[in-house]
Symmetry: C2
Subunit: 197 residues, 2 copies
């Protein structure tokens, strides 16, 4: 009662190890054996928690998306202008790039193209997560127009989607070139396009 059921802990361990491995190598490229070895869970247990590898991938993405959106919500709920929040959000992409592999955290970057042709279920989870994220960005744009920190835009939804597209593309270009320049340019372009003053 005081703690999570042990069952959930084990399940979470698999999910966590899986996320690390898969965000680095891709979904298809990582075998169950590797994930299980990494998380110290025997093979037999895997199929107790997940009916298939695809179902596992589905759970992994669901988990990831909900984590991600929760973090954005926390950011939005905090103090500061809409502009500050947006900047903080984008800057995090660069920060991740610095620490380990460039844009290595973001599963949309790593799995977007793979999952789209692999599993309808997984595709929908990721697509849904992106849609919600774009909504939140659009909301920030609206808020920024009100508090005067951002330039008003005609169609916040469209602008938010194109903003996200630019960052997604820039992340892939940075991965490909092993160079943060695309991400840095995205940041400066984003600022100069949207910021007042």
């Amino acid at each position: 009662m005081t703690e999570q059921k042990k069952s959930d802990q084990t399940r979470q361990k698999i999910l966590t190890a899986g996320r690390a491995l898969i965000s680095k190598h891709g979904f298809g490229a990582v075998g169950l054996a590797r994930i299980l070895k990494e998380s110290g869970v025997p093979k037999g247990s895997f199929y107790y928690y997940f009916p298939s590898k695809e179902a596992f991938g589905h759970a992994l993405l669901t988990d990831y998306v909900s984590d991600y959106l929760a973090r954005i919500d926390a950011l939005c709920a905090g103090p500061g202008s809409a502009r500050d929040k947006l900047t903080a959000f984008w800057t995090a992409w660069l920060a991740q790039a610095g620490s380990e592999g460039i844009a290595s955290q973001c599963l949309v970057v790593k799995l977007g193209a793979e999952v789209a042709d692999l599993s309808e279920d997984m595709r929908c989870v990721l697509d849904d997560g992106v849609a919600k994220l774009v909504d939140k960005i659009a909301a920030l744009l609206v808020q920024g127009a009100k508090d005067g920190s951002l330039i008003p835009v005609d169609d916040p939804q469209a602008t938010a989607q194109m903003l996200y597209a630019k960052w997604l593309g820039a992340a892939i270009l940075s991965k490909l070139s092993r160079d943060e320049t695309p991400l840095r340019r995205a940041l400066s372009e984003t600022n100069s396009t949207l910021s007042t003053s």
Copy 2:
């Protein structure tokens, strides 16, 4: 003499079938057996033409990049303003989307994230191709500023890279959502940002 050596024809057949399969499913997800079967080449022959699957991937990308750049060169050498050429280039992304899988042709879209963490050789080929493509886009921006069809920009190289990033991201979003809207928005945003008049 009159014709290519048969050896080269066979090699090309493998490359062609490989490109179709891999641009749809990804590099790792497609086995040699499938490619060979598709191209009607016996399995035992593969290692006569390529020393390894990775070397094959390298050749595949080299082939693809050179095809792609040649097409751009042909477009640039043709008639019309820089603006027309750029528009024709981007519109092709949408046209591909319409016919079969969205943005299914572009190997940068499909393989960018996969290859970046898979093979240094393949990564370099793709990265090099993208760099050259961005150069050509930048050259069009410069030309457009001169012929008056496009708004002059401060840093054509940076603008071209961000332009490509936006389209790359939009293509992935379109793949993910099975909806051309992101690509269409990219087109209208590109036009309204760059076009004079």
